[in-house]
Structures are given as C-alpha cells and as structure tokens.
Amino acid sequence: MRSLHLRIFLAFWLIIVLTIVTAASLGFFYAERARSSLQSFEVSDAMIEASEALRDRGRAGLVTWLESLPFVAESVIYIVDEQGRELLDRQLPGPVRMTLRRSMMQAAPRQQRPSRAREPDSLRPARPFAELVGPAGDVYTLIVLPPQTAVARWLSERGGLGLAIIALLVSAGVSYLLARAISKPISRFRESTAAIAAGDLDTRMASGIEKRSDEIGELAKDFNHMTHELQLAWQRQAELTSNVSHELRSPLARLKVALELARRETGELAELDRIDVETERLDEIIGQLLTFSKLDANPHEAGESVDLAELLAGVIDDVQFEHVHKAVDIDLRCDSDISINGYPLALRSAFENLLRNASSHGGGQIQVTVQAEGGHAIVEVQDQGGGVSEAELARLFEPFYRASTSGESQGAGLGLAIAARAIAIHDGLVDARNTDEGLCIEVRLPSQSNTPSQSNTEVTT
C-alpha cells in the first residue's frame, strides 16, 4: 500500500464503484415502486378489459384489444394461449418465459395423471399469472409486467451480472489510467533527481512529460531549467578552477627559471633551496587542484578493464620510489585476479593518493590487501601511523581537510578527497577506521562481473 500509484488507483476505483452501486440501488428502488403501483391498479383494469374482449369476440377480440393498447404499454401485457404462443407473436422476457413454462408443465400432466383422485379438490397449484377463460373453454394466460426502461429491459434480458462485471472492469481501467497519469511522472522525477544526485547533470526529464500542458508539464520544464542552470554553474566553477591552476603555473615556471638564474649568480644558498622546495610544493598543490576539478568536471576518459593487482603493483613501485629516503615498505597481498571496469588514470590517482597518504603519515610497514567479496573488490590500505581521532575520521575525505596528526606535509589536503572522488565515479565506497596499528582505509569497488554500466541501465528502466 506504500505505492502512490496503488493508492490513487484504489481510491479512484472505490469512488467509481460506490457511485455505480448507489445509482443502481436508487434505480432499483424506483423501479420496484413503479412495479407495485402498476400491479395494484392497472392490472385489474386490464384484466377486466381483456376478459370483456374475450367474452364478446373470442380470441380475435383479444388480439384486437392487445393491438389497441397504447404504444408505451407495448411490452407491459402479454397474453399466451394454451400452446404457449403469445397472441401477437412477441418474444416474452426470459425470466417470464421460464416461470410460465414451469407453471404450464405443472398444470398439464395433472389432467392425465391417474392418481388425480389423491389430490384434494381444494388444492390447486398456484399460478403466478391471471388466466382468462374464453367462451369455448380455451384458457389464456395474461401476463402483466411493469413498464420498463430500455436499460432495465436489457438488464433483465441479458442479466445484471455481466453489466456489473463490465462496470467493474471499465472503472478499474479508467482508475488505473488516471492513477498512472499522476504517479508515472512522479517516479520519473524521482529517477532524475537520483541521477542528478549521483552526479549526472546531463539528466533531463523526457520531452513527453515536458510537453504536457498541465502542472506536471510546468514542473518538468522548471526542473529541466534548474538542472541546466546547475550544470552551467558547475561547469563554470570547474573551468575556473582549471583556468586558475593553469594561470598559476605560468608565474611558477618563470619563478623556477629565475631561481636557477639566481643560483648561477650567487651560488648555492640555503634560502634558494628553500624557495625551490616551496615552489615544488606550490606546484604540487596546483596539480592536486587540477586533478580534483577534472575528476569533478569530466571523469569520463575511456573506460576499460583494469587489472587491480597490476595497477596496484605499479602504483606501489612509484610511491616507494618517491619515498626512497624514508624507508617505506609496502606489501601487497592479492588473493585472486580481480578486474574492474573503470577509468585507469582515475583509479591510479585514487590508489596513488591513498598510498602516498599512508607513506607520509604512517610510514614504516604498509599492508595492502585485495580481496573479492560478492561482486566487489575490497582493497585495504593499513598503515602503522597511529591513526586519527574518531571525530576526524569522518572528515578525512573532505577537500582541504587536514588531520591534526598530519604534521607538515606536502599538498593541499586534497589527496584523500581526490581518492574518494575517483572511487565515487566508479560507484565505489571508501571508508576509514582506526585499528590497533594505525589507520586502515577500505575501498570497495564493483568488480567486473558487476560493472558500472549495469547499474546505469537499472536507473533508466
């Protein structure tokens, strides 16, 4: 009963069925009342007229009298002879015909039955209809039916059950369509908002919904407009970050040449070395900013199958080389061949940043384990750096956030944010926890059998 569609559908249907039932019972009561009033008055009048016609002119008189009846009462009075023939050759209504046949079958064998004596004279089977007895002893049955509307006649002939079923089906169909017209666009809106929240700003409401002239159509137009504006703002921001980074690098390039020129003039100076180090650091931060904005703006390099163990081995080599002066030991344990459908550069940058973080903050022995678990690849990076406080754990992946224990390190505090973002565009999850030894970062990625493209098709259907 949670579904809006079902609720609207049932509400509509209930209302329609109730309306039908009310209207039908009202009609039935009116018809009943009309029938009883007719039977109490006009029937006796008609009987007297008919019996007079029969007495005066026999069967022919009866026929003439029937024919002379006003048109409105055409089907009200039937007269049937002993052979069951209606005098004007009209078809009797179904239920009447059956009652008549039954009463005739009861009456007819009685005259032939030898055991007649056993029936007391005072007992005669009731006949539901009036009988006219002609001068020659011929018996006619006179049937009076209350006047019927066309619908009531149709109903009594074809049976009310069929009509009721049709009414139910039609009202169900109408209710279903009505409910669908309301609930379908809503579920479309839901899918689109979910897609936008997942970062797909290209999402738009289908033009079919947008073209509707009602409130839902207006909503779809506003929705699309909003998404468009959001996308533009997002693009502008990403472009700005990218442009700023590029622009910052030009003076940096000049600074480096100037530094070398200065070195040549004055020889090696501790201050110049310091300038060199800071320039490198600035360059590193700009690089991280650029990487981060690129991941946000356009993560879609060509996707391909990436062998996780191979990728990690390469990254570990590189990071170990970078920290060659720091005696960092990275150990990789991989229990099986796991491939991921993804973007190699983004994945590389994710693990590079995780390992760099572990190397510069943890140091010592770093354990990297890769495991397969139910369609997911789980990569754990465990360092021996003593971990961070629980309050800081949650903020670790925020851009520009630095844990208090991080000390003086290179970069802008974007490393883990880049990793988290790169994992997120692979529909993956990244999580940090403290262990006995230090910080453990767990990455959970859908492995090849459960590719990101499959989850996309799930959204669109």
């Binding site: 590029h246 390039a253 000049r254 040449v257 070398e260 040549r264 360059d283 990487t291 080599d317």
Partner: protein, 234 residues
C-alpha cells in the same frame, strides 16, 4: 676535449609567455645555445622554415593555433628534434604529442636544469652529431647509423631521432629483451620515470612506421612490464 660540433646549437622556443622566453634565453646562452623565441605557432613555423635551427622547444598549450597542430606541421616539414612542454597531469596531450613525433616532453613548470639536460640528450641523438659511420642490417631493414636512416629495400623509412635511437638499441642485440630503463637511458638520455609512457609511445610509432612500409621482419615485441625486443626471423 669538447666536441666542437655541439659548441653552439640554435634553439627555437615557441611559447606565448614572452618573459619566460627571455629568461630561458638568458639561462641557455652561457650553455652555448643561441635562442630564438616565437610567441605563436604560425610565427614559429615561419621562423623554422627560414632559419637553420637544431632543436625546437614547443609549448603545447598555445593560444590560437594549437600546439599539437603546430607539431604536426613541423613534422610535415622536417624531423628536427622537438621537445614539447605539456601541462602537468595532462597525459592525453603528452601521449598525442609523442605519437605525433615529438622527441621528448617536459611538464610545465619545469626545472630549467632538467630542460638543459633534455636539450643536450636530444641533440646528441640528432643525425649530424654522431659521426660513427656504420650500417646495421636486421631482417629486411638496414639502419644507416650515420645518416640516421632506415632503409627497407629501395624505400627509406622516416623516423625521428628518438625513434631511430630506440630501434638502434633493439637492433644491436636482436632477440634480446632490453628493459625500459635501458631504453630510456640510451635513447632519451634519462632515467625511466614512474608514470612515464614515452618509451611505449615512441615504440608504437616505430612499429607503425615499419608496418606502413610493409616490413614484417624484424618485428618489435613487447614484454609487459619488462621491456622490448626485436625479433628477427632468419
């Protein structure tokens, strides 16, 4: 005794950063380089057509005519050694540049000492500087070491200096796997760096050019994560 052939080399810098050009001029002059600077791609190509430069430093991030387009036009004109300056982290530009025939690349901002080392290493591989007169025949091709030409039958295959040097490294020891470190040291004059796919890109260029010339013997084989080897069928 210094090799007199490399005492002065003419460098053309194509970069829209005028000040950087001036500073590089100042930095490179004492190192026996004569430096010309152009601020746009069109300008650079014109200058290159008229002058007799030994090496080009090309900024890929040029306004107006794209640096990669400039590189393509330079390669249509000549095999002059070219070092490109790319944005750090922009792997696509770098790979496309190497595929288009750049000899080496440097991420901007760069350390000028690194630039100097690359300039010297690249120039050392340039045709006129090595004077060893020898020919090396492998399979269906013949390497003319002095002229830095590869001949397949009657046709000659055009390779850049770096590409030739790589092929030569492999051809000197056919059938042997040469590591990427060795290849980088010998052909690029620098250590093989992490994330660096220059060797692979250059190698695929050589492979493509040999294939275009219809040469199937020798063939360049790659050993993943190890290196390359030249396979010759007798």
């Amino acid at each position: 005794m210094k090799n007199t052939a490399v005492t002065t080399a003419r460098v053309l810098i194509i970069d829209d950063d005028r000040e950087l050009g001036e500073m590089l001029k100042e930095y490179l002059q004492p190192e026996q380089f004569v430096v010309d600077a152009c601020l746009s791609g069109e300008d650079g190509i014109d200058t290159l057509r008229g002058g007799n430069h030994d090496i080009v430093i090309l900024d890929i991030m040029l306004p107006g005519m794209n640096g990669l387009e400039v590189l393509k036009q330079i390669r249509d004109m000549s095999d002059i050694p070219t070092i490109m300056l790319t944005a750090k982290g922009d792997d696509v530009d770098r790979i496309v540049g190497l595929e288009l025939g750049a000899d080496d690349y440097l991420a901007k901002p760069f350390n000028p000492r690194e630039l100097l080392a690359r300039l010297k290493a690249t120039l050392r591989r340039a045709p006129t500087s090595t004077a060893v007169a020898s020919r090396l025949a492998v399979g269906a091709i013949e390497l003319d070491i002095k002229a830095q030409k590869v001949v397949a039958g009657s046709a000659s295959i055009r390779l850049t200096g770096t590409e030739f040097e790589l092929l030569r490294c492999l051809a000197e020891a056919p059938g042997e796997i040469i590591s990427k470190d060795d290849l980088s040291n010998r052909a690029l004059g620098r250590r093989h760096m992490p994330y660096d796919r220059s060797i692979d890109t250059h190698m695929s260029n050589v492979r493509r050019k040999l294939g275009d010339a219809g040469v199937s013997n020798p063939s360049i084989q790659s050993r993943r994560c190890v290196g390359y080897c030249l396979l010759v069928e007798e």
